[in-house]
Symmetry: C5
Subunit: 89 residues, 5 copies
C-alpha cells in the first residue's frame, strides 16, 4: 500500500455500470512514498475528505478486497491515516 | 485508475481471437498522473472519442471488470471524465 | 497493453516444463509507449517475426488470456499491428 | 520480492474492517533493489522490528499468500533477512 | 518476463511457513531489460547458479505458475538462458 493525500475528486457520468455509486478521489502519493507526486484515481470505501492522508491499496487487492470483485477498479482508499505524523517530507 | 487523453487508435488484423470485436485506443496519461506521457493501449467499453479524457483501469481489473475474464487484456477505458476540469496541467 | 517491436528471440533449454513449446520473443516498447526502450520477454501466440510491431499484454492477462493459466508467463504477444502507422517516433 | 528496511509504522483508526488487527509497517527498499528509496506500506505477518531488513512480497501474493485473500492488502513482510549481509550499499 | 543475472542469494530463518524449502536468489535485470540494474528477489525452481542468466516471471505468474498458488511469492526463476547470447550490453 502507499500513503497519499486526497487532493480532489472527479466525476464520470458515462462509465461502466459496475462503477455506479462510487466516489472517485484523486490521490497524490506523499514525497517519501513509491510513486511520489504521480497522482492516481482511487475509489473511496471509507469516506475520506480532501486534504486527508489515506492508505491506498492497488491492483486486485482494491477490487477483491473491497467487495467489488467484478468491477473495473484497480485502486482504493482503504484507510485514513491517524493524525500526528508528518507526511510532508 | 488513471486519467488519460485518447490520442488515437490502432488496428490489428492478426490477433488473439478473444480480442476480435474490440477497439484498441491509444491513451496518454495526463501530466499530473502516474505514468504521465507514457502511452498505453486500452480496449474501450464505453465509446470514447479521440480527444476525450477517460478513466483507465489496469491489470486484472480491465479483464475481470469488463466481462472479458478470459481475454488477454490488461487495460480498459471504463469511464469518460465529465467536462469542466482542466487536465492539461 | 503496449506496442513494441520484436527485436530478437531467446532460447532456454532448462526451463519450467510448463513453458515447453513456447517461443520467447524479445520485445522493445516503442518510444511513445509506457516502458519505452526497456525490453521484455513475451511468449508469442500469434507468430510474429523479427521487426514486426506487436501488441503485448502483461500480467495475469498474458497467462489467463492465452489459455496458459497454470504457466509462469507474465507477458504475451497477442496481436500484430497492421502496417501504415509510424511507431518510430 | 524485494529487500527493504523497516523504518517505521503507521496507525489508521478508520479503515476497512478487513484490515483490523494488522500492523502497518513503513518499509524502504534498499539501495540495490527495485524501487530503492521509494517507501511502501506492508502488513507484517512475521513480527519485524524497526531497523530490521525484511523480505516483502507485493501484489496478489501478499493477499493470497498470507491467508488474507479477501482483504485489501497489496504488500506484506513475509520474512526477516538473516544478519551477516551488508544491504546498505 | 525479464532476463537477469543471478548475483547472489539470501537467507531468511524467520519467514512465512509457506516459504520453507525455497531458495531465494538475488537477480539483477540486464542492461537492455525493463528494470535494468534494479535487483529483485526470486525463488528458484530450476536450480540456477550465481552468474547464470535467467528468465524471471513476476506477479501472479510466479505463484500460480510454479505450483505455489498459496505462497507469498511474486517472482520466480523459470528458465536458464542458453549460452551464446551477449547480455552485457
Amino acid at each position: 500500500m502507499i500513503v497519499g493525500k486526497v487532493v480532489g475528486s472527479l466525476f464520470s457520468t458515462r462509465k461502466s455500470e459496475k462503477l455506479v455509486g462510487n466516489k472517485f478521489m484523486i490521490v497524490e502519493p506523499v514525497t517519501s512514498m513509491d510513486g511520489a507526486g504521480d497522482r492516481l484515481i482511487a475509489i473511496d470505501i471509507i469516506g475520506a475528505g480532501i486534504g486527508e492522508y489515506v492508505l491506498v491499496a492497488q491492483g486486485s487487492a482494491a477490487r477483491v478486497g473491497c467487495d467489488m470483485a467484478d468491477a473495473p477498479v484497480d485502486a482504493a482508499i482503504v484507510g485514513i491515516i491517524d493524525e500526528g505524523q508528518d507526511w510532508s517530507k
